[in-house]
């Protein structure tokens, strides 16, 4: 069995497992070298390889584009392009993010009015350009920020990133003394589930409720 046969078997196996061919494959340097070692029945390929090169011939043969030739072992996978991501879905995600942030800051503002002497300040800033925005040429929008002050204490909520694996967006929470990450663990288009990341092993993620908000506001060094 030469490299062409091996790749054919592996692609068939991938198709059996996933119900479709891989979108891209990663091959090794050795594979590129071994493509030249064809058997008798594949001899016609040699001409094509000479004419069009290994890359184009192998891609056409299997219908799977080659992502790279420097993998440590052969890999096949489904690419993000097939997950239905388009410029409009990226824009929709940003709109949803802004909506969720505004709803969250409305709640914080309500909690702030219930604290004597505390005052809230809402502003906005240009969002950070993330990978998918760059990929689909989607412009950065203004995202809301929220700051609350009580005497000398100040807590700022500044959106950080939307696309973060394992969460549906992250907000930087800066107090006078510490820095926290606040994440929304909800699924896309589901109600928000804000959690504050703590260094505690007992409660690594704390639900962001009014007592926790008040604790941040009263935080000391």
């Amino acid at each position: 069995m030469n490299v062409i046969d091996e790749i054919a078997v592996e692609i068939a196996e991938f198709e059996a497992n996933h119900g479709r061919k891989p979108a891209r494959m990663w091959l090794t340097k050795r594979d590129k070298f071994d493509v030249a070692k064809l058997n008798r029945s594949q001899f016609a390929l040699a001409g094509k390889i000479m004419e069009k090169g290994v890359e184009q011939t192998v891609t056409k043969l299997f219908g799977v584009p080659i992502a790279a030739w420097n993998a440590t072992q052969r890999e096949y996978r489904l690419s993000s392009e097939e997950n239905g991501v388009t410029a409009s879905t990226v824009r929709a995600r940003i709109d949803d993010w802004i909506k969720r942030l505004n709803a969250f800051f409305d709640t914080l503002e309500k909690w702030t009015t219930e604290v004597p002497g505390a005052h809230a300040h809402r502003d906005n800033m240009e969002q950070q350009v993330e990978g998918l925005m760059r990929q689909f040429s989607v412009k950065a929008q203004k995202v809301p920020t929220f700051t609350v002050c009580l005497a000398k204490n100040r807590v700022a909520f500044v959106p950080s990133a939307i696309w973060i694996s394992g969460a549906n967006g992250r907000v930087n929470v800066t107090t006078n003394y510490r820095q926290y990450a606040l994440v929304d663990l909800s699924q896309f288009e589901a109600p928000s589930d804000w959690k504050l990341v703590l260094a505690s092993s007992k409660t690594p993620l704390a639900a962001f409720d009014k007592p926790l908000f008040l604790r941040l506001l009263a935080e000391r060094a």
């Binding site: 990133a161 394992g166 092993s201």
Partner: protein
Amino acid sequence: MINYNEIHRAYVESDAYLGRKEAGARTPSGKTRWARARMFNDQAYFLMLFAQLEQRIMQEVVKLVNKKKVLGRWQDRRLWQEAKPDRISFMQKVALLTEKGQVTYNRMDQLYHDFRCAIAHGNTAAVGPIFIPTIAAELKRIAGILRA
């Protein structure tokens, strides 16, 4: 998974440091630079946790092969006698511990190819930031499922 709590604490500390830098940056390019540093930090922690899971899977596969090698009937043990766990690919090892095509296998396939390999091959931008507490909890849960 070894020392999950210690890793979590170290992650929170390092992420908070980079988060403070990101929040304090005065220019958009400064913010982007620190956000990238934060992303690399996420990915480094992911690789460390995943490497521990790989080690755990290897141990379970060795355990399985050793168990099967000593089966009473030769017909049952013949396929296992020549099995060399260090010579089979990672996803083949996973397939020895959980059924191919099922939820755990598919998720491992995704975590391995779309995260671990993408990061290891320098395709870090495609992976982006990773929220380690969620992913670590998931890896821990998977480690409990993948048994000999």
